[in-house]
């Protein structure tokens, strides 16, 4: 060990950061080196002489005055907000306000001369575009005396919806929830008949009834309103049959599937089940 290294270790010893092995090596060096022993004595002497705080010979009057001045300069006290903080916050707030006002001016003001209106055209994804509800999640409400045609799917715009058509193998197949169990057959009202049959039609056509079955549905409703329940059932069954028989492949080609709509794996069984329910309560 050199003397320079030993003197660094002596300082570590004074600071209390010397390891056991280093202490042993230092002791071995000090047994042979009187110069380093002298350095160690000097440093210890310095430490001993300087250790311990000095007295503070300041009169209480002076001390009190200085503390009072510091407290008064602190203003609101230690828990208060400093002037610097207030300035920074005020600057940030004014910047946010200016940005917000600028944004408002851009998006809310009417079109200036020579500048096209931002809100003139349809906005994609805005509420102005009517959205067709999922076909089966809620059955079309039918009230007696006010027969309205089931909602038609808006015509396809022809724009490719790549994001919606992208195939995803992990995408779970969504099966629409089945209708609530109908009441017993002897307690069915004409409104129940309409609702059940139209739900069956919705299943059969994936919620997109075509023109042929719609005529039969209208006939069934008229008959149901007039109290001719057997006639209404007959018309509905014809509608279901026509709907199931129609060429599904042709229909799918005309109306591409919507990613948001439920996927019907087999449209016929729910219709058959409903008809069975209607006929025998099964």
């Amino acid at each position: 060990m050199t003397c320079d290294t030993a003197q660094l270790l002596i300082e570590d010893e004074l600071d209390g950061t010397l390891g056991a092995e280093q202490a042993q090596a230092l002791r071995a060096h000090l047994r042979e080196c009187t110069a380093c022993v002298r350095v160690r004595e000097d440093l210890r002497r310095i430490e001993t002489a300087l250790s311990g705080p000095e007295d503070c010979p300041v009169a209480d009057v002076v001390r009190n005055a200085m503390v009072d001045k510091a407290v008064s300069r602190a203003g609101a006290g230690p828990g208060g907000v400093s002037v610097r903080t207030v300035v920074v916050l005020a600057t940030a707030a004014s910047l946010v306000l200016v940005c917000w006002l600028g944004w408002l001016r851009t998006h809310r003001s009417g079109p200036s001369p020579g500048q096209p209106s931002v809100t003139a055209g349809p906005v994609r994804g805005s509420l102005q575009t009517p959205r067709v509800p999922p076909p089966v999640a809620s059955a079309p409400s039918v009230s007696r005396g006010n027969h309205t045609a089931p909602p038609r799917r808006p015509p396809h715009s022809g724009r490719p919806r790549l994001a919606q058509r992208r195939y995803s193998p992990n995408r779970p197949t969504v099966v629409p929830p089945g209708p609530s169990p109908p009441p017993p057959a002897d307690q069915l009202t004409p409104a129940d008949v309409c609702r059940i049959y139209e739900t069956a039609l919705a299943f059969a056509r994936d919620g997109r009834p075509t023109g042929g079955p719609l005529d039969l549905v209208s006939t069934a409703r008229v008959r149901a309103d007039s109290g001719d329940l057997p006639g209404a059932i007959e018309a509905y069954e014809a509608a279901v049959e026509a709907s199931v028989r129609s060429p599904a492949s042709t229909w799918v080609a005309q109306t591409p599937p919507d990613a948001d709509s439920p996927v019907v794996q087999n449209p016929s069984p729910p219709a058959d089940v409903l008809v069975a329910w209607l006929a025998g309560g099964g």
């Binding site: 300082e11 600071d15 209390g16 250790s51 001390r63 510091a70 203003g75 230690p78 828990g79």
Partner: protein, 194 residues
């Protein structure tokens, strides 16, 4: 003031405002004064340093997060304030001293703490304190916190906001300088010893 007492007084200061804040400042006044006196390096500036440090502590006490002892945090503020004053004075003296030397009216710098005079008093502590005042401000601050205030190496680093290795380096330089300055005193005292 112990660590627990520091925390209690700090919470009181934050909760109760000026009265408890004054209590905190009073309880640490001696620490602030000692460090200001030794690190500033000039008696004439001690009062200014103490006042500035007290104001700094009072205004920034709300930002103390308890990463170290309150006394360590206050010591750090005081030392930084004192070093700033010392640097300002050093620049001023560098500007003014040549003019005063020309006029032949230069007073002895730190005359009251002149080591040669203090050595006559055979007081090693006073002699070494005078030597400390001649160190560089950063070394002076490290020596004051380490020896006079008895802080550990890690505490000194926390107070000054530098890595412990930097403090070690500063202390090494300060020890070498103090040992060199102490040599005449030791030689004289040993020469007088029969």
């Amino acid at each position: 003031m112990s660590g627990v007492e520091s925390v209690v007084s700090l919470r009181r200061a934050r909760a109760h405002g000026t009265e408890a804040l004054a209590e905190v400042l009073h309880s640490h006044y001696a620490l602030v004064w000692r460090l200001a006196r030794r690190v500033a390096g000039a008696d004439s500036e001690v009062e200014d340093v103490v006042q500035d440090a007290l104001v700094a502590v009072a205004t920034s006490l709300g930002r103390f997060r308890g990463q170290c002892k309150l006394s360590t945090w206050i010591a750090g503020i005081t030392v930084r304030t004192a070093v700033r004053h010392a640097e300002r004075r050093r620049r001023y003296e560098a500007l003014v001293a040549p003019l005063e030397n020309d006029a032949g009216t230069t007073p002895g710098r730190l005359s009251s703490d002149d080591p040669s005079k203090v050595a006559e008093a055979k007081d090693l502590r006073a002699y070494l304190l005078a030597c400390v005042s001649r160190l560089a401000p950063e070394q002076r601050a490290s020596v004051c916190l380490r020896y006079l205030e008895g802080m550990a190496l890690q505490e000194v680093a926390q107070a000054l906001g530098v890595p412990p290795g930097t403090i070690k380096s500063r202390l090494h330089g300060a020890r070498q300088a103090l040992r060199g300055m102490m040599a005449p005193y030791v030689a004289e005292s040993e020469g007088e010893t029969p």
